[in-house]
Subunit: 127 residues, 2 copies
């Protein structure tokens, strides 16, 4: 199948599929006589795999690593679990950061009267 068909089946934009081929993340099966990229279900499966991993905010490099585990019939599940656990820790760290951000800002917003007068604890805090 052509690239747009593979894109549709994988749920990715065509541009992205081409990009993944360019950076050697998911290569096309081959090329047609005219130079069109051709895709089979194997590549589509990999594209879907990458899309799902990206939805979990795995970076492209992490996707590359996961993909090699995915393709390796002899990988151990421990390797995969390690990667996923690492990602989980990153997410939890980000959650904590976001939480303090939220609390501080919420406190400032709550303290601000929000009327026509220029007095504003938010500006005061910043400035």
């Amino acid at each position: 199948m052509n690239i747009s068909q593979a894109a549709k089946m994988s749920g990715l934009p065509t541009k992205t599929v081409r990009y993944y081929a360019d950076i050697n993340l998911v290569q096309s099966q081959g090329r047609s006589k005219a130079g069109y990229r051709t895709y089979s279900e194997t590549e589509v499966r990999k594209l879907i795999f990458v899309r799902r991993a990206r939805e979990f905010d795995f970076t492209i490099e992490e996707c590359r690593e996961l993909l090699s585990l995915f393709e390796d019939r002899d990988r151990s599940s421990a390797d995969v679990k390690n990667l996923a656990t690492k990602r989980l820790k990153q997410i939890e760290k980000k959650q904590h950061e976001l939480q303090s951000l939220h609390d501080e800002l919420a406190h400032l917003v709550q303290a601000c009267r929000g009327d026509h007068r220029p007095d504003c604890p938010i500006i005061d805090y910043f400035g």
Copy 2:
């Protein structure tokens, strides 16, 4: 004072201070005869203001907006509160996203034995 002094006082890297001048976010007070940027406490205050706002993940454009409110003695606190509230909503949205991400991934990690065998629900889920 010179740029590195302003950088130190504002808590920003010199490169960033120069960048903010380039994009017209915080201009230097002027230039010395040799062409060095000069800074006064006024600019340092603005730099600190921007640094704090950036720590709250306000974008540069939002900083620009906030800065104009900051510089406008006649602004109403309502304008500032609106901006901050918008940002707060964004943060809360991001928190929800991160939460479902976390829960799904945690579930997968928990379900994975993580031993030497290749069976892995994480890979199964992705692939």
